[in-house]
């Protein structure tokens, strides 16, 4: 009987034949923690091992700082210090300090993520690394500590849902809109405990940034992981960073043609239009047209979902079509995902144009997504952002947020009200 991608991945990692529902222990290829929950991991590890324990393999552990980079509170400053000291003590050299950017993206850019790898992190959006076929999951500190002691962790083998996508996006419409559509169709609990495979010609032609966007919100449907088979340009990009072996690794996780899926969905993007997640839940999905005209106080482009160069470039095109002008009074903030992305933006001449238009460009970090850094909204304000959650109060008590694509966010900044980007780039 055929196997899905996740079955093949878990099979390799556990050394066992597996079927959905099985509980197995998997060997961990990379166990990471952020400045969020990372300190809890460090404290718990030291407590459990009475301060004498050595981690199972310092080369398979990495730390990333993005919750508050740089820190803006004593507590986080101290938490970051705890991690730095722990890493030093344990001989962990992969510490991506406050000057790097959003963890998952930094790990990817630095070649630490390979197809088929089993990866842990203290970030519920770790699973966006499924964009290159890695089985990455967000876990709590106890799971991380267990992996540091044992190098293993228990998993329930998930059922797999297949999402088949066909068609090409019209101008002004992008992967983010498809994703929003999927979240609206399947709902917040729509993929509970399940793995997803995104397949079909639209996916095969998608670039890495688009794949990341797509996989970044599987969490918002309670899914375990969204997986995409690496191919073409994406595989080349990976090869250049993570080495030749990624080709073989990618081959090994290919789903069998007769693999069994618990559900299959079809989406066609030919007639898709710009979408939003309206307040106060990601699955409260509407078309941009339905909510067009609502006044906004702030827009934010960034986050692990839509903070790559391609995302910022898409926003740039919209601003360009509007003669590089945004509406008076609106606050527009762009946060690149990583330092590499920031450099790309600088080289492309984007930053200067954004600034000239009145848009703020910050250092790479999670920014307002973590609610304690740039862009917290006051009560009564309405924002739009390309992040992945808009739960009530997430970015400021009494405020409300629309989630949308970088193009829609920039179009809305141009007009000061929610705007269909097609009206601007028409």
């Amino acid at each position: 009987m055929g196997k899905t991608m996740i079955q093949k991945i878990i099979q390799r990692a556990s050394g066992k034949e597996v079927k959905p529902g099985d509980r197995v222990w998997c060997n961990i290829d990379l166990s990471t923690a952020r400045d969020f929950a990372g300190p809890n991991c460090v404290l718990q590890f030291d407590k459990e091992t009475e301060g004498k324990g050595k981690v199972w393999n310092p080369d398979k552990i990495a730390f990333t700082f993005d919750l508050e980079a740089p820190s803006r509170s004593e507590q986080v400053a101290n938490n970051q210090k705890l991690i730095r000291e722990f890493a030093k003590r344990q001989g962990i050299t992969k510490v991506f300090d406050v000057n790097w950017g959003i963890g998952q993206h930094v790990l990817l850019e630095n070649g630490l993520v390979k197809p088929g790898w089993v990866i842990l992190g203290t970030d519920s959006h770790m699973n966006l690394l499924g964009a290159v076929g890695a089985f990455a999951t967000g876990v709590g500190n106890t799971d991380i500590v267990a992996s540091w002691i044992l190098g293993k962790l228990w998993y329930r083998v998930p059922e797999t849902v297949k999402i088949h996508v066909t068609g090409s996006f019209k101008k002004g419409v992008c992967m983010r809109d498809l994703l929003t559509k999927i979240v609206g169709t399947l709902g917040a609990g729509g993929l509970i405990y399940k793995a997803v495979e995104f397949v079909g010609p639209t996916i095969e032609n998608a670039n890495l940034a688009e794949r990341i966007t797509l996989c970044s919100m599987v969490t918002e449907m309670s899914g375990k992981i969204g997986l995409i088979q690496p191919n073409g340009e994406v595989l080349e990009w990976l090869k250049a960073r993570a080495g030749e072996e990624v080709v073989e690794l990618a081959e090994a996780i290919k789903a069998d043609p007769d693999a069994i899926y618990s559900e299959e969905y079809e989406f066609n993007v030919d007639d898709l239009e710009p979408m939003v997640s309206a307040p106060d839940a990601p699955d409260n999905v509407k078309t941009v047209r339905e909510v067009a005209g609502e006044k906004l106080d702030q827009i934010h482009i960034g986050s692990c979902s839509n903070g790559r160069f391609e995302d910022i470039a898409a926003a740039f095109e919209v601003l360009k079509a509007a003669d590089f002008k945004i509406a008076p009074g609106i606050r527009a903030i762009i946060t690149p995902a990583t330092r590499e992305v920031m450099k790309q933006c600088a080289q492309a001449g984007f930053i200067e144009k954004f600034l000239a238009a009145g848009v703020i460009f910050t250092n790479p970090t999670c920014a307002l997504c973590t609610a304690k850094h740039y862009g917290t909204l006051p009560s009564g304000d309405v924002g739009m952002s390309t992040t992945n959650r808009n739960f009530i109060g997430k970015v400021g008590k009494g405020s409300h947020t629309y989630l949308a694509s970088p193009m829609t966010a920039m179009a809305s900044a141009v007009r000061g009200v929610i705007t269909d980007p097609r009206e601007i780039i028409g």
């Binding site: 980079a69 740089p70 820190s71 803006r72 509170s73 004593e74 986080v76 400053a77 101290n78 970051q80 210090k81 300090d97 406050v98 000057n99 009074g329 606050r331 527009a332 903030i333 330092r339 920031m342 450099k343 600088a346 930053i351 200067e352 954004f354 600034l355 000239a356 238009a357 009145g358 848009v359 703020i360 460009f361 910050t362 250092n363 307002l368 304690k372 850094h373 740039y374 862009g375 917290t376 909204l377 006051p378 009560s379 009564g380 304000d381 400021g396 008590k397 405020s399």
Partner: protein, 418 residues
């Protein structure tokens, strides 16, 4: 008998001939507030006056925590936006790419002008003396009262004359001079006084350097600090002065001073202020090798294009050994630095380039220290706990010294790498 700058400028504002020691009531030309405009507006409302005396004289610049990091900061910003609307205040710098650190904006955008009396609800308001203004920091209640009445009283201060000659040796800058002066006369050495910088070396200095000097006037207790409104100043303001009410005023040659000092730049070397006071001066070689955890190149003291250039010279092609936070003083400076390729140098060296604002300077935003950590900073204060934790340590130094130390991971003399 000749008059000091303070006597002349306050006399002009008061419309009478005044002498040191006399109390005068004047109408300040610009009243600057940053994020603390929110609490001030609350005090203002308690006074029972509906409208400010003149909205065109009030300037708000958000810089302490931008974009807002917490609910509380966000609410404060909102209160300010609403007050701005309600009062018809035009000079408002919100969270966007037009702003920056308040004192930089005041100078860069043509508010700081020769001969004007200016107040700000921030102690480093004395910076505008670089442009020949009489400017000083005041408290929140006094600012609220000034908004209501348009009047503020001053005692005409005694004056201190600091004459500066010679020229800087390589690796030495205005920051080293002001740290040395404060170290010599201590934190209260110029209490209540008007500090006048004189001499050929001041004329040689850029406005950026003069801003560094005047900015730190408050760290020796001065009411204000001022440099002569020479050609450089007139040239800088000719296209963007926000009012034509200014007048180039300077002290008479035979003015009487409470104290006179003289410095020769050629004798200076790179220096630092050691923890935990600004007057705890030491030449850099005395503390060289002290390990650091963070370097901060920013603040209203030293984050102008000239400062970034000096740091970039040292950082070019190198990698920083500790986390290094670069925060240009304004978006204008940021863009200039980008155009000159400086930001690329910083990024390639592994620095973080933050959006303009005060950053970690007063422990509010990016780059707070953890206990036991040490930071070398181009800012103006190193009080215990200033950048966050009370158990952390701050050394103040010039942009060159900060850059050299960032590369080494320990306090370093910039002359070694230049």
């Amino acid at each position: 008998m000749g008059k000091t700058f303070a006597e002349k400028v306050l006399g002009k504002a008061a419309g009478e001939d005044v002498k040191t020691g006399q109390v005068v009531t004047v109408e300040p030309h610009f009243c600057m507030s940053h994020d603390n405009a929110a609490p001030i507006s609350k005090i203002f409302k308690k006074i029972g006056v509906e409208k400010v005396w003149n909205p065109d004289h009030i300037v708000f610049i958000l810089d302490h925590a931008v974009p807002a990091p917490t609910d509380k900061h966000a609410e404060n910003h909102k209160i300010i936006r609403e007050f701005v609307k309600e009062q018809g205040i035009k000079h408002f710098y919100d969270v966007n790419s037009k702003g920056g650190v308040c004192h930089q904006i005041m100078c860069q955008e043509g508010y700081a002008l020769p001969g004007l009396v200016m107040v700000g609800s921030d102690s480093h308001t004395c910076t505008y003396g670089a442009y020949g203004a009489f400017s000083t920091g005041i408290g929140r209640s006094e600012m609220a009262a000034t908004w209501a009445t348009g009047k503020i009283w001053f005692r005409v201060p005694e004056s201190m004359k600091i004459t500066v000659k010679g020229s800087f040796k390589k690796g030495v800058s205005a920051k080293d001079l002001i740290l040395k002066i404060i170290g010599d006369i201590k934190a209260d050495g110029a209490d209540y006084m008007s500090v006048e910088f004189h001499g050929p070396a001041i004329s040689q200095m850029s406005l950026a350097e003069r801003m560094t000097l005047c900015n730190m006037g408050i760290e020796m207790g001065a009411k204000n600090a001022v440099c002569p409104p020479d050609e450089k100043v007139l040239d800088a303001i000719k296209d963007n002065a926000k009012t034509d009410k200014w007048e180039a005023i300077w002290a008479d040659d035979d003015a009487v001073y409470a104290k006179e000092l003289e410095y020769n730049l050629g004798e200076l070397e790179p220096g630092v202020a050691k923890p935990h006071t600004v007057d705890n001066y030491a030449p850099v070689n005395e503390v060289a090798g002290t390990p650091i955890h963070q370097a901060f190149l920013g603040s209203c003291t030293n984050a102008r294009i000239e400062d970034l250039r000096e740091a970039a010279k040292i950082l070019k092609g190198k990698e920083v050994a500790v986390r290094t936070i670069v925060i240009p003083a304004s978006w204008k400076v940021y863009r200039q630095a980008m155009e000159e390729g400086l930001l690329n140098i910083f990024l390639d060296a592994g620095c973080i380039i933050n959006n303009p604002g005060c950053g970690p300077c007063m422990g509010n935003h990016e780059g707070i220290l953890a206990p036991g950590e040490t930071c070398i900073s181009t800012a103006n204060r190193n009080f215990k706990g200033r950048m966050g934790n009370k158990e952390s340590f701050i050394y103040l130094a010039s942009p060159m010294t900060v850059a050299a130390s960032a590369v080494k991971g320990a306090i370093a003399d910039p002359r070694e790498v230049l």
